[in-house]
Symmetry: C2
Subunit: 152 residues, 2 copies
């Protein structure tokens, strides 16, 4: 599991689709405008997201991308894994005979770490993340209103 900005772009885009899902397919140009990500970069990311079966596409006018399954069934980990090719952080190519004819030092440690983080991100669905954001937005708005009242 690799954590970088690239994965964040993908999550942001999937987030955007989840938010506008009810209006039908979401075009990449809409996402590009709303999220400030270049269209071509989005196209690259969505080629992978589609390849992993996370989104499905509809061509032609009014077309765009929609979630391939319910947003409850898409985990943040799936999205990140789809766009970030795994870096082989172990550098052993899957073998256990990687360093001086023995398991390299951090092989197990790093695997455990990766597993743990993937586990955490697998437990969070797009749906959960979206609803969490709504809660945050409401409390932000309330904070803002409160502040407004105080200053008046």
């Amino acid at each position: 599991m690799k954590l970088s900005t690239k994965g964040r772009y993908a999550v942001t885009a999937m987030f955007d689709i989840a938010l506008h899902h009810h209006e039908g397919p979401v075009s990449l140009s809409d996402i590009s405008e709303r999220q400030g990500i270049s269209l071509s970069y989005l196209e690259q990311l969505f080629a992978r997201l589609r390849g992993q079966g996370l989104v499905k596409s509809t061509r032609g006018p009014g077309g765009g991308y929609s979630l391939a399954m319910d947003s409850e069934r898409i985990a943040i980990a799936d999205v990140i894994d789809a766009v970030d090719e795994n870096v082989d952080a172990t550098r052993c190519g899957g073998t256990t005979d990687c360093q001086n004819h023995r398991r390299c030092l951090t092989h197990g440690l790093w695997e455990d770490l990766s597993d743990q983080i993937r586990g955490y991100l697998s437990g969070i669905s797009l749906a959960q993340a979206v609803s969490e954001m709504h809660v945050r937005q409401v409390s932000d708005r309330q904070d803002h209103q409160l502040h407004h009242v105080e200053t008046v």
Copy 2:
């Protein structure tokens, strides 16, 4: 929090020191040979680790690096943070007015995520990781012996 191979190199090196701590300071050339990491790259990494006060150096023959504090008090997160400059994954420079005059979509989500992972890695000390590895090695050896008996 960024997760990449660079942080893994740093953790591996710190691991090596923790394992050879009792023999006095550990030289970078020893780590280089044992872990298969280039000497100069280690020098770059240790400049940062020293700057963060995680290791202390002794010059001259028989010198090297030793842990600046007890291995129980050094968290994996500290090591990774020392070498991986934070990527500002939010791309907002700390402001909350990052995208179209509102908090960008995944700002909060990504912060939560980062916090959670940092929290996990802060809870694992070098000492814990080392002892975990020892357990793993013993069970590996037992597996190997068992296999040997079976095949004989």
